[in-house]
């Protein structure tokens, strides 16, 4: 059985991410909502966290030895929000894996739950704009609980 618990504490590269105004517009438009040129939709917190933490979705798949077509899904996503995101503003992010747990469910079968947390600060700011926690579910068909 593969064990990924050693990933706890694994730090993402971190860094800065400038949230492009056109990405704010495209994201909001793709969701069939009306873009606001002054404030980014809070849905974009997810993107800033991933980009700013310096990881791609594929990077996280690689950490867990998963492929893009292995049926990885979101489990839970939460955020404490202390400010709004602005188009074209730059954010500093740091993130790390906070847990990996092997679980099983009647419907889902055997799976690993990876949890990671990312803190977002506006560049030069000390207080977080948001702190996010993501749980991703990695199916482990054929493996033992």
């Amino acid at each position: 059985m593969s064990d990924y618990s050693h990933l706890r504490g694994h730090r993402f590269p971190g860094g800065t991410y400038t949230l492009p105004a056109h990405i704010c517009w495209l994201w909001t438009d793709a969701a069939k909502l009306t873009p606001d040129p002054r404030i980014a939709h809070p849905g974009l917190i997810y993107l800033v966290a991933i980009r700013g933490a310096g990881v791609s979705i594929q990077d996280i798949f690689d950490l867990m030895d998963a492929t893009a077509d292995s049926g990885v899904v979101f489990g839970e996503y939460k955020a404490d929000i202390h400010g709004t995101l602005r188009p074209d503003a730059t954010y500093e992010c740091e993130g790390e894996v906070i847990s990996v747990e092997r679980k099983s469910g009647r419907r889902a079968g055997v799976f690993d739950k990876l949890s990671f947390q990312v803190t977002i600060r506006e560049q030069g700011g000390s207080d977080p704009v948001a702190v996010t926690t993501n749980d991703w579910i990695f199916p482990r068909k054929g493996e033992e609980a």
Partner: protein, 134 residues
């Protein structure tokens, strides 16, 4: 002046009548998400997930948060949220977010909301949010 809310007060339902598969391709590009279930129907078929592409989780969350911020009075009023992903949202589904106030703390100037979303009549999201009253 702080807004007055009452426990049990309902949010206006937020509805997408039919989830459009085309914007999933834009979101896959923005997210740099290689998972083909979002843009290649053959992949969803191969995984036994049916013959419609799967909407991205961040889009579903964006809709849930849109419902919250409309009720709260703007994105600056959203203080926290937690979302559980209960099921897939497929292209062509009718997606609906509903919610209600579960607690009001006038001293803190905040209220708690319970939220749920269905897609094609199936549970899609469950969650909570905390909003500012002023």
């Amino acid at each position: 002046m702080a807004r007055k809310l009452e426990v049990g007060q309902a949010l206006d339902p937020f509805v997408i009548d039919s989830v459009d598969p085309e914007p999933m391709k834009v979101m896959a590009a923005i997210l740099d998400d290689p998972n083909p279930i979002h843009f290649d129907v053959e992949a969803t078929k191969a995984l036994g997930m049916g013959d419609h592409p799967v909407n991205q989780g961040p889009t579903n969350v964006t809709w849930l948060l849109e419902s919250v911020q409309r009720f709260a009075g703007g994105p600056d009023k959203v203080r926290a949220f937690s979302v559980r992903f209960l099921g897939n949202v497929f292209g062509g589904d009718r997606f609906e977010v509903t919610g209600e106030v579960t607690a009001v703390d006038d001293a803190a100037g905040e209220a708690e909301l319970a939220l749920s979303a269905t897609s094609g009549g199936r549970p899609a999201l469950g969650g909570t949010a905390r909003i500012a009253l002023d």
